[in-house]
């Protein structure tokens, strides 16, 4: 008999007795205990990050012949050594912040992550990464399904979305994750003064607590109203956070600073979602020195580095795992606009006190020969080597302490890089 954790909680001891003989289920519970303070921070780079400019195969001659205008010169990359197949790699020169984390042994680089038959669509790609299900990308999200496994009632701040829209990954059956793009504006106003404002807040809380009968859409909006009213006061606590480092002045750094504040204040959030866009670099991508892409890399590297140092200074790095990815990598050959079009496999990065730093997986050979097994689409795009769901499985099993097969609907542990 199969029981999900949620059913177990609902049905209590009976379910436990029924499932007593199932070792996987027991280990699931065991995993859940003792990992309560851990959190996962997803940093999603939207638009399709050009992985070959992030982690540069600077000794592959085809990298230079296929990207004459935008290749990063070999002499400028930040060297990180070689993968197991002997491909020598370097980070983009503006990623000095990530380079120092790599040198601390706390950054894992997972090459060629992806899945089969990518449509190269931003939107389907985002949904597939969000659900972990290429065959049904409009279902609820992989992190939402994780939140569904937590014992009810869950804290309304168990998840924290630092972007405006709720990403597919956080869509859940049972938990409405609040979106807090800017904690400073996350407040409730009233046309009236204190006592009357309180009357209004009480009325709004009561109204949204009514059962909406046969109108599930109304129940849904009521849930978001309550989610907002239930989280206001604690989010306000985070506003007063004074970090231990100076963060750069940009939106990504502001979001990470807020996440750090939430972690330091012990809000209890298990999953944070942070998003940073601008990676759809069809034109004017630039190379090492300037251009749009270099600025993106500078922002990511410096912001993540500030976040890392802030948590490390406060001895909280061991509680945090940051996972970073994008919806696809880009075509290998540059186009005539000094940019790159939509491609297939990309990279994932993991950062945190529990991360085993290093390079995982192997770089593609960029030889455009259609028979090159590391490429697809007649040598046009990088073929995936590591199923991205195996990384999700690793994070679920070994970090969040939940049985990954329950959340992902199948066993994707095979071939998972040992990043934690």
């Amino acid at each position: 008999m199969k029981y999900s954790r949620r059913e177990f909680i609902r049905d209590g001891v009976t379910a436990f007795t029924v499932s007593f003989a199932a070792p996987a289920f027991l280990s699931d519970i065991a995993m859940a205990q003792g990992v309560r303070s851990r959190n996962l921070v997803v940093l999603y780079l939207s638009g399709g990050n050009d992985s070959l400019s992030t982690v540069v195969p600077y000794k592959d001659p085809f990298y230079y012949s296929r990207r004459p205008a935008i290749a990063i010169p070999a002499g400028q990359v930040l060297q990180i050594g070689s993968d197991t197949k002997g491909n020598t790699l370097g980070l983009h020169p503006r990623l000095t912040g990530l380079h120092s984390i790599f040198n601390d042994g706390r950054l894992a680089v997972i090459q060629r992550a992806g899945y089969n038959n990518s449509s190269r669509s931003h939107f389907q790609g985002t949904d597939i990464w969000g659900t972990g299900d290429p065959s049904s990308p409009s279902s609820i999200g992989w992190l939402g399904r994780y939140l569904d496994t937590l014992p009810s009632p869950v804290d309304p701040l168990i998840g924290w979305n630092a972007t405006r829209e709720t990403p597919r990954a956080l869509m859940s059956r049972t938990v409405a994750v609040p979106s807090i793009p800017d904690a400073r504006t996350y407040s409730l106003s009233s046309p009236n003064g204190a006592a009357e404002a309180l009357n209004e807040r009480t009325a709004a809380t009561r109204m949204s607590s009514n059962a909406a009968g046969d109108r599930p859409h109304l129940s849904f909006v009521n849930g978001t109203v309550r989610g907002a009213l239930d989280t206001l006061d604690r989010v306000n606590l985070v506003n007063q956070y004074v970090p231990s480092v100076t963060y750069p002045n940009n939106g990504l750094a502001l979001a990470l600073r807020t996440v750090a504040g939430s972690i330091v204040r012990g809000i209890g959030t298990k999953v944070y979602w942070v998003q940073f866009g601008g990676f759809d670099t069809h034109s004017g991508q630039g190379n090492a020195g300037g251009g749009g892409y270099a600025n993106l890399m500078g922002t990511v590297g410096d912001s993540v580095n500030a976040f890392y140092n802030d948590l490390r200074n406060q001895s909280l790095l061991n509680d945090t795992l940051m996972l970073q990815f994008s919806e696809f990598g880009r075509r290998i050959s540059e186009n005539g606009s000094q940019g790159t079009d939509h491609g297939a496999a990309g990279i994932m990065l993991a950062m945190g006190g529990g991360v085993r730093g290093g390079i995982y997986g192997s770089a593609a050979s960029l030889d455009p020969n259609p028979g090159n097994p590391t490429l697809e689409n007649a040598g046009g795009d990088v073929r995936y080597e590591t199923d991205f769901r195996s990384v999700y499985a690793k994070v679920l099993d070994n970090w969040l302490g939940v049985n990954s097969t329950t959340v992902l609907g199948a066993d994707f542990r095979a071939g998972a890089p040992a990043i934690i």
């Binding site: 190269r120 059962a211 859409h217 907002a228 606009s337």
Partner: protein, 488 residues
């Protein structure tokens, strides 16, 4: 304002921005079909809304120096909001909003390339007010119910599109795929109908579709400078392009090789094929189901086939399509009233129309709209906004509640005066007045009682003027900020 003709009110919420008192009086006894024709045949109504900007009887705009909606994007946003509040052609504005989401183009990328003045002109220039082609939103107004094929062609040549999807950098030596991909994935038939070789071929079709600068003193920041579409034959890939689907009505999948001078015909042929493809018809039908019928259930296959049929029979003309939808049983069904999640601009415009605007500036809606997740002229990406439940994150819902508070505070005295004239005796009367003036979905007994409890809290009735000043604003804020009010 007396409500009662619920069919017409539903129509005016969905196909417009909610009824006002004048609409309700006009259609009090009318069959819904008459109101449909009134909306659909909008050319019979005056196109004079812009002439009312700045007049005292209307919602205000906030000027910083001169009001410059053709060259300042915040002023362009104010002009559009003003139009939505006061237009006499609500369906035309509603369809412009629909097309803005369908052909989602964001100002900021264009401003990053050509600066604020040119980017605003590309998004919002009203024809004739300054030199240069009309802005994209004016195109959407012009083609609101016109031929989709013609609209698609105009969008492909639209300067804002050419910048937004990088067509201006598409050259024959190494074609650029952004526009070629998105016109198939998002503007027409969608995923599953093309492959990578079609993306490569489509990119080549649009090589040479570019912009020409007409600058005064070489300056982008001169309001008289402009950019316009140009077909650059020297950058067009003249070789034949073969697709996996038919481009011509005889089933031929290959656009023939042409002389460079004639090469623009490649794109015209391709756009004509995409617009007339049956899967484009079905995809538009599904989007229109979600926009006009309901977001609670998947599109009825009967609806999709019927609407796609009307579209194809009428050579992609949208007017008969929309008329068919608004007159259909799918639309009229009372079970589908208040079953679409309102877009932030719909919410804001409807609340201004219902709560009141005397002394209120639409500028006060700009920042709240951003926090609600809908900045006009700034969709998050080329797929448009995340509709339906996607609008309703907790942060966005807070912004809706807070906008309700801002508007209610601003209209406090108008509201108190109106309610005081007829309904100061008992809280039930005051609540009845507000539920007639505002238009939430049906309130169950629970929230109804909660509102009465609020009116009674720290209050004695019959109400003094001071109490009405307080409770009117509080009640308007609660109703407009309620879950029931978030649907159209």
């Amino acid at each position: 304002m007396a409500r009662g003709n619920w069919h017409v009110e539903h129509l005016l919420r969905r196909a417009g921005f909610g009824p006002n008192a004048e609409d309700l009086a006009r259609f009090e006894e009318s069959p819904v079909a008459l109101a449909v024709d009134y909306l659909v045949d909008y050319e019979r109504r005056p196109d004079d809304v812009d002439s009312k900007i700045g007049l005292p009887a209307y919602v205000s705009v906030t000027t910083r120096g001169q009001f410059s909606p053709n060259t300042n994007i915040d002023d362009a946003r104010q002009r559009w909001l003003f139009r939505m509040v006061h237009t006499q052609r609500p369906l035309q504005e509603k369809m412009a909003l629909f097309w803005h989401n369908h052909f989602a183009t964001a100002y900021s990328k264009i401003a990053g390339v050509y600066g604020a003045v040119q980017a605003t002109k590309m998004m919002a220039l009203k024809s004739g007010e300054l030199p240069g082609p009309q802005g994209q939103i004016e195109l959407f107004l012009q083609f609101a119910l016109g031929s989709f094929r013609n609209l698609l062609l105009e969008v492909a040549k639209d300067p804002a599109t050419v910048v937004w999807l990088d067509g201006r950098t598409n050259v024959k030596a190494r074609p650029q795929e952004n526009f070629g991909r998105e016109i198939m994935e998002l503007f027409t038939f969608g995923l599953g109908n093309y492959g990578e070789q079609d993306v490569y071929a489509a990119a080549r079709v649009f090589t040479g579709w570019n912009l020409r600068a007409a600058l005064v003193a070489g300056r982008n920041d001169d309001p008289n400078s402009y950019y316009e579409f140009v077909y650059n034959a020297a950058q067009h890939d003249v070789a034949a392009k073969t697709f996996t689907f038919p481009v011509y009505s005889d089933g031929n999948k290959t656009i023939p090789a042409r002389a460079a001078a004639d090469g623009m015909q490649d794109g015209v042929d391709f756009i004509t094929a995409l617009a007339n493809h049956p899967e484009t018809a079905r995809r538009l039908a599904r989007k229109l189901w979600n926009f006009f019928i309901t977001e609670l259930t998947a599109p009825d296959p009967g609806f999709v086939e019927a609407v796609a049929g009307v579209y194809l029979e009428n050579k992609t003309e949208m007017r008969p399509v929309i008329r068919y939808i608004l007159r259909s049983q799918w639309f009229i069904d009372p079970a589908r009233w208040f079953t679409r999640y309102s877009w932030p601009v719909e919410f804001v415009v409807r609340s201004i129309r219902e709560v009141g605007w005397n002394g209120f500036s639409v500028d006060n809606a700009r920042t709240p709209l951003t926090n609600m997740g809908q900045t006009l002229f700034e969709p998050p990406d080329v797929a448009g906004w995340e509709l339906g439940p996607g609008w309703f994150s907790s942060g966005a819902m807070l912004s809706r509640m807070n906008f309700a508070a801002t508007l209610a505070a601003n209209q406090r005295f108008n509201l108190a005066r109106d309610v005081g004239a007829v309904a100061r005796r008992a809280p039930e009367d005051a609540l009845a007045f507000f539920l007639d003036r505002l238009s939430p979905a049906y309130l169950d007994q629970g929230p109804y009682n909660d509102l009465l409890t609020y009116l009674r809290a720290n209050a004695t009735w019959p109400a003094t003027d001071a109490l009405l000043n307080t409770k009117s604003a509080g009640l308007a804020r609660l109703v407009v900020g309620s879950s029931e009010y978030q649907f159209v």
